[in-house]
């Protein structure tokens, strides 16, 4: 296919980027100036920006501790997601009785609002004896339905011929997943990693309920400190939000490259 001229694409993308970045710009700006955003007229450029609200954040909450907790929990979640979802998705690409039922079940499960499962989920976690543990924090997110379907869509696109060939070579199923499916679905893997990381990283209500031990609190729970009713913590609040945001963006940047490989190169062979 012949390539269209680049400039209209740039133009369109610049407009999009502008609208996407506008609110974000204000978060960033406020984190550097701490100004009262309800002043009028709004100052479009940061006035006397300084990094000290980030220093405040560092001292308002046990930042390192919370950060490490978040890292540990998210690492568990990401690993579990890639493995469990890949397995489940692979199963769904195979014909077996009850498959449609499982799919419909998953799709509907996906949409039970977490708020209403809070109490029973807590009781069950207690029964498992993993309240106040990293496992207890991570377990509910060990598999996420969206990501299962991301994998499924990607696996469905892998030519059957490849799989059958592998079978005839007597390759074990788990190795088919590992050696054929995943390498041909790097973009799906990247999506899994990014999304499950972000969900577990920003998860708020569950850690709030399941951890009584302050040493186990995750980063988002630090939020409470910045919504004070007495102090004016505006600057620190937004600095905090930026700090919570950063790792997700970093991961996205790192995983970016996977979105241009994937099956596009793989499908032709095999």
């Amino acid at each position: 296919m012949k390539r269209p001229p680049a400039w209209p694409i740039h133009a369109a993308l610049c407009v999009v980027s502008f609208f996407m970045l506008l609110p974000f710009y204000w978060v960033l700006k406020t984190s550097l100036t701490g100004e009262n955003i309800f002043a009028y007229p709004p100052s479009l450029l940061p006035v006397a920006p300084h990094p000290f609200f980030y220093v405040d954040v560092w001292y308002y909450i046990p930042f390192v501790r919370y950060f490490l907790n978040s890292v540990i929990v998210s690492a568990m979640v990401v690993a579990a997601n890639v493995i469990l979802n890949a397995m489940a998705a692979y199963a769904l690409t195979r014909g077996f009785r009850g498959r449609k039922l499982v799919i419909l079940l998953l799709l509907s499960c996906m949409m039970i609002p977490f708020q209403t499962t809070l109490i029973p989920a807590y009781l069950l976690t207690g029964k498992l004896g993993i309240l106040n543990t990293y496992l207890g924090l991570a377990l509910p997110m060990f598999s996420t339905i969206v990501c299962i379907f991301v994998f499924k869509a990607s696996f469905d696109a892998v030519p059957r011929s490849l799989v059958d060939a592998a079978r005839i070579d007597g390759l074990a199923e788990w190795r088919i997943i590992w050696k054929i499916m995943l390498p041909l679905s790097t973009s799906a893997v990247a999506t899994n990693v990014i999304l499950s990381f972000i969900w577990s990283w920003n998860n708020f209500l569950w850690p709030l309920v399941v951890t009584r031990d302050p040493l186990l609190q995750t980063l988002p729970l630090g939020l409470a400190r910045f919504l004070s009713y007495h102090e004016n913590t505006t600057g620190a609040l937004y600095a905090f939000c930026i700090l919570v945001l950063a790792p997700g963006i970093l991961l996205f940047l790192l995983a970016q490259k996977e979105f241009i490989r994937g099956l596009t190169s793989g499908a032709t062979k095999g």
Binding site: W26, A88, S108, M111, R167
Partner: protein, 316 residues
């Protein structure tokens, strides 16, 4: 969980000459084995809790009181004497109806950033950046941008002279819900984008090459190849859209808290209020059950619409 253990047992299916019935059984066994861990998680944190709600919805219960059976009383109250429920339901459906808009936008963006235009990675990041941002920040910032007197939008519109009177986005009954929806789309569009990007990667280049050789225009290629093959991802986005309309609690809570009146109340915010603020978990449970039934219906429709089987496109 542990493939190595499963491995040897699973050799069989491919062995030539295995009897069809046995083969199918092994296939099924294998499938369930692979599904087991994921399903276990959902059983624990979705299905059992849902059952808990189902039972609770037939009782009179609060954390401080033992349960008493009241049959369908809560459902009767909900359907016959609770206008708020109907308002919240309508709003939720409006919210759901807005999903395609966001998806369309995201699709456009995804197609653009999937070309090999320079600086593509930067654009992608810009579009995605809103998604991982904490909802509290999103809510507060949008509250301010849409504010009647000091908000950025009104400021901009007034300074370019587009409007005389400022628009009270969040203070008016007509605009509160749309405002929340816009903010929601703003936040979720990056999410849609990467789902669609992943989908686009599953479309083999050679198809386009072939089509190009047959002299198909870019438009035709889009409608003949991209769209059909992207169906699974589009369906997934639709499901996500529905989901977000039934679960995006934080955004509404921060931006409007369901007001003014109940004009931006969603089922999820309403049942949170019912449960944790009015300590009526039993009633909240009934709401949950109704909402769940609704969702199953919606998903089922969407599923059918996308050609069944979660929009999966069988090939090979």
């Amino acid at each position: 969980m542990d493939h190595a253990a499963a491995g040897p047992a699973l050799r069989a299916p491919a062995r030539p000459g295995a009897r069809a019935g046995a083969k199918r059984r092994r296939e099924a066994a294998l499938a369930w084995l692979l599904l087991a861990p994921a399903l276990a998680v959902f059983l624990l944190y979705r299905i059992i809790p849902l059952g808990w709600n189902a039972i609770l919805s037939l009782q009179e219960w609060s954390p401080f009181k033992p349960a008493v059976w009241v049959g369908l009383d809560h459902y009767r109250e909900m359907l016959t004497e609770d206008p708020t429920f109907w308002e919240a339901l309508a709003n939720t459906l409006w919210f759901t109806a807005s999903a395609p808009v966001g998806i369309a936008i995201a699709l456009g963006i995804a197609l653009l950033v999937n070309t090999d235009v320079r600086g593509r990675d930067v654009y992608r990041t810009f579009v995605f950046i809103s998604y991982p941002l904490m909802t509290v920040a999103v809510g507060i910032i949008w509250r301010w941008m849409l504010d009647e007197r000091v908000g950025l939008f009104n400021y901009a519109l007034r300074s370019v002279g587009l409007i005389e009177q400022p628009i009270p986005f969040l203070q008016s009954f007509e605009l509160a819900l749309p405002s929340v929806i816009v903010a929601n789309i703003w936040q979720i569009v990056g999410f849609y984008m990467i789902i669609l990007l992943t989908g686009l990667q599953t479309i083999p280049r050679n198809l386009y090459e072939a089509a190009a050789i047959d002299g198909a225009s870019a438009r035709q290629q889009f409608f003949r190849i991209t769209l059909p093959l992207l169906r699974p991802s589009l369906f997934l986005c639709f499901v996500i859209g529905v989901m977000s309309s039934f679960t995006s609690f934080d955004l509404v809570y921060v931006m409007t808290n369901g007001g003014p009146g109940h004009s931006s109340e969603l089922l999820v915010t309403y049942l949170y209020k019912a449960g944790f603020e009015m300590t009526r978990f039993d009633y909240a449970a009934a709401l949950t059950v109704v909402q769940f039934a609704l969702l199953v219906a919606l998903t089922w429709i969407g599923n059918k619409a996308s050609g069944g089987d979660a929009g999966a496109v069988e090939r090979g």
